[in-house]
Symmetry: C2
Subunit: 635 residues, 2 copies
């Protein structure tokens, strides 16, 4: 059947599929982020896309007419699950459709890469041995691989060697050989299995483990899954977990086993979803911050938590699957990508890869927000990075009604003029708390409305029932008990605001320190990319109001999603990309913030909303002035 190409934007992903594939399935096959809560059954109406050339597709269906207004239909809106392109087309993903998919935290911006995985399979037929041809099994196999595919100087892994004699004979000398990096035979299988070659890319976050199962013959993601990092019971943040590991030798092993269990769970889920045999996964690429790197590999993590914060190694680590206890093909290879320094780990290297930040001509910034936040500043010529201890506030910890970006979390909100709150919850259920993006919104909106001053103090003068003083502190009611799913008021307290200020100050001070080392001002930044599973939900205006990100024009701020896992996937499907990861991990300079000049002043200044120095946030200043003028005019 004929193939067609579907181009998605923004993102620039191109997916080649068989004609007769609908746009939703094409997006899934290509790993393009698209909301589709009902799984493509035409029930939810969430997979809204815009198709410019409607002649290239089927006519809109009855289901589409139910979910889309006639005006929308006329403007080119379609449901991806109902749209069957007849030829190459271009599909626009509107904001509302993108956001939803990001909520599952498993997707991110991803560049197209040339398919050239470390794993290749070769089908060969061997001559049978005889008394007059008594070459060893290995010789016989490598001779034919050399003759047929010009693969020379091959070695064979011990695991594959042990199984070789039986497999050659059971298959009647007709086998498929899996070779790693054109140098090592890692598996030999009966018959022709070249079509069954999978890889697994996994991002080990402090909170979540996210995985992509990838078809290595096409380079496409076939399924994704995620789970909570099973290390969570041993500490919500890295430092707590390392402290636990330092208590006793056995604890380190406990943490190692926990995270491997998480990886295996995600791997199993992706295999179940895509109906893939785990034995057909030959390569896993892992990324994670430096702590996850050490804990996952069972390396003593003590010294990355103590000054001068030195890791055991920065280079990538290749291990047999058996040795890491990952439940894939037992002769397969697990590769942890290289780390950079401090807590700037392989996940950050993957961010660089996924966004091609290291190729940018103009100086830009990338912020990957998490419990630890990595910031990069630079361009193709020079990149400097640091890691900020932003803490778990944005992930819900230490905030009275804070929670993760899960169903029931308020993910965005705004205050209208009479201090009433409009909010959106994940899964459209009654709210149970607020996640990081809503924290940014609530402080930004409260600041804009004058409920909170630049020091973060909640005003006690304003007349609204939402503002009240408990016996301990001031608090602001976001949702009344009867609106919630927890039957009590959801509030933000003075203490919460302090925690948020601390977190954002840590991030912004990191940004400032990097800018200073490069002698840059905000206006020198061409783009500000915000990554992280948390980052994709943020309202950029409120992020600037809060003083979380530098004050650049809103259209220069881009949310790139979970680029760690997509970067890992790119290294999985392309050897060249993996080599790039090795190279840039060495080239990127790491700034230890403890050595940055006047860092503690930067930190204190950044505690202000948006900043102690108004010159740093000129756009915010102008905006607030305009706002005030408007209010005065209205009054």
């Amino acid at each position: 059947m004929a193939s067609i190409t579907i181009a998605f934007s923004p993102g620039g992903g191109k997916v080649r599929v068989r004609q007769g594939t609908n746009v939703l399935n094409a997006a899934i096959e290509g790993g393009v982020a698209l909301r589709a809560e009902c799984g493509g059954n035409g029930i939810c109406g969430k997979c809204r896309v815009i198709v410019r050339d409607l002649n290239s597709t089927n006519k809109s269906t009855r289901i589409e007419k139910k979910h889309l207004s006639s005006h929308e239909l006329d403007s080119g809106y379609r449901l991806a699950c109902q749209t069957y392109p007849k030829r190459d087309i271009h599909v626009l993903i509107p904001r509302e459709t993108r956001i939803g998919k990001r909520k599952v935290l498993v997707q991110g911006y991803e560049r197209q890469t040339r398919l050239n995985p470390m794993i290749r399979k070769y089908h060969v037929k061997l001559e049978k041995p005889s008394l007059f041809d008594i070459r060893s099994d290995f010789e016989r196999l490598t001779k034919v691989l050399s003759a047929s595919y010009r693969l020379n100087n091959l070695v064979i892994d011990y695991g594959a060697l042990r199984e070789l004699p039986d497999i050659l004979r059971d298959s009647d000398w007709d086998v498929t050989v899996t070779i790693w990096c054109n140098e090592r035979i890692i598996a030999v299988e009966t018959g022709e299995t070249t079509e069954k070659s999978f890889g697994f890319a996994v991002d080990i976050g402090t909170s979540k483990v996210v995985g992509h199962l990838v078809d290595l013959t096409t380079g496409k993601t076939v399924s994704t899954a995620y789970t909570e990092n099973p290390q969570m019971p041993y500490g919500a943040d890295i430092i707590t977990r390392i402290a636990f590991a330092m208590e006793k030798e056995i604890n380190r092993e406990t943490l190692r086993k926990a995270v491997i269990e998480g990886i295996n769970k995600v791997l199993r889920q992706t295999c179940l979803k895509a109906k893939v045999d785990m034995n057909q996964i030959y390569q896993t690429v892992l990324v994670g911050n430096t702590a996850m790197h050490h804990l996952c590999l069972g390396i003593q993590p003590r010294y990355i938590a103590l000054s001068p914060f030195v890791p055991a190694t920065k280079g990538s680590v290749d291990l047999p699957a058996e040795q890491l206890h990952v439940n894939m093909n037992r002769n397969g290879v697990c590769s942890f990508l290289p780390i950079i320094g401090g807590f700037v780990g392989a996940d950050a290297v993957a961010d660089m890869i996924a966004t091609s930040f290291y190729q940018l001509k103009k100086v830009s910034m990338l912020i990957d927000i998490g419990t630890n936040t990595e910031v990069f500043v630079g361009n193709s010529k020079d990149i400097v990075t640091c890691s900020c201890a932003s803490g778990p506030a944005f992930e819900g910890a230490r905030i009275k009604h804070g929670m993760k970006a899960e169903t029931g979390a308020i993910e965005s909100l705004c205050l209208n003029s009479d201090f009433d709150v409009e909010f959106k919850t994940i899964g459209k259920t009654k709210p149970r708390g607020l996640c990081g993006s809503a924290m940014i919104d609530v402080v930004g909106e409260m600041f804009k409305s004058g409920i909170v001053d630049s020091r973060g103090r909640i005003s006690s003068d304003l007349k609204t029932s939402r503002l009240r003083r408990t016996d301990k502190q001031m608090e602001f009611v976001i949702a009344w008990a009867n609106e919630t799913g927890i039957n009590r008021d959801i509030v933000i307290t003075q203490k919460d605001i302090g925690e948020i200020q601390l977190a954002k100050a840590a991030i912004f001070a990191g940004c400032s320190a990097l800018m200073k080392t490069r002698n840059l001002r905000q206006r020198d930044l061409d783009r500000v990319l915000v990554a992280g599973s948390f980052g994709s939900h943020i309202n950029p205006e409120n992020a600037k109001l809060l003083g979380l990100v530098p004050d650049v024009a809103t259209n220069r701020i881009e949310f790139v999603g979970n680029t760690s896992v997509t970067g890992a996937k790119m290294a999985l499907v392309s050897k060249e990309t993996r080599e790039t990861a090795e190279r840039i991990s060495k080239e990127i300079r790491y700034l230890e913030l403890a050595t940055a000049p006047e860092f503690s002043k930067e930190l204190t200044d950044a505690m202000f909303i948006p900043h102690r120095d108004p010159d740093r946030f000129p756009r915010v200043g102008k905006y607030l002035t305009n706002l005030k003028k408007k209010e005065t005019a209205q009054a």
Copy 2:
């Protein structure tokens, strides 16, 4: 203190020792085979050597005068344990002293090799990290190794990496690094430990596992040990064991575990003897025949026992100690040397190495006698080899009173004119049976005396009570019940002689087939080397009489002992030797006897004593003719 060199012959071994070392200790240090039952205490008088230049040593001692006749003392005989050279000397080891040492089956002819082991240790002191020097531990370590020792592009084993952070800090950045082949860091230890670097060479025989513990800083053997191969209960010969392995998957694992247990036992013993910590062994070199190779590595051995007898691989296999479960330093490396083909394994490659057979200018033959016997014919230009299924007869199996070369075994015997038997037992105890060398003697002597004819039939005409017919067959009494340790007559039966004929025929037919492929006659052979723990006990005259070895002049037959283990040791202490092993294992041509022309005729002809074709044994013919003349003259 000054050093002196002691040269031993035959063997050509040179040992450099401190002045004040006696000849026995020098021999032990250099791994030179020397009898010394009392351990050098002047009690046994067995360590007899001949020193030509007596002025270079101390005067003969009271102890020596007790053990040596004045004639012997005048001829230069000394006891090695009493002789302290003052300067470089040359020591001759007479036959009686050599034989004894070989009895423990652990020594063999060994060439001197330049010390250049795969394992090297380097002591380094590192700069401590600081906030202004945040290189990773691995970077820091490799940088100093590069600067101090020009070691570049080093990688580190996962096991060593995991321990690295703690060791660097516990040692206050003063460590010793163990590096394999100048490329891989396999261990890092606290402080200066460069003097503690050991290797282990082990020959895995079908019957015995023999090991040398070697100091890799000197290249000298520090202790030796051996044990019965714990696979014995699963079959006395290879074929039986492979059949057992073929029965069930689990049986293969049983055999693997058994032989590893044997290796670990020998390793432990050598460490106890030399007071060496097992963690200080970083490299083990293993040799063994093809079956031992596959069984030890857990590779399916089925197909090496079935035509066309193809091994899984011929190349050498390097494995982490942990993976092979050898109880040495857990980051150490185990290397199984390459095999040649059929059952001609790494042990035979080691024979080649130890004897430098592959460098010989004149065409020679090497026979390594065991349950499987390997034969080599050739010289530096071209070597061809085959493996003969000689069976376990010479190891005692299938022979009524056969036993291994252990205490109580008759090891040599002769018949005098009235058919009386003079014998020597190992350990000088009452005899319990006869080992291989005595089997050769008994058949040779019986043939010479006319008790047995050229077809191996025991005569029933001769008048001696030692010859008798039981209800089943004829037999010859070697020792009467009252002389033995088992209180019954030790005999050799007609069936036993048949078994011995089968064994020797298999070996000689192999020799003939090889000679034929090279178009050689017996007279073309410059030397015949006989190796094997069994081979070192043989009487060459009787071996020729039996037709076991080609009929060359007796002074051209050399017993080289257990050269497999010494070859393994040489590969352990010299990288170049190991490379030579790799090279010659590929160059030596393997002859599959099943394809040799008229091989079955060769086999049948070789069943005769010494052979059906008298022209093949002209010296034996002449000897028997002379013997007859002498008898006739006496009569």
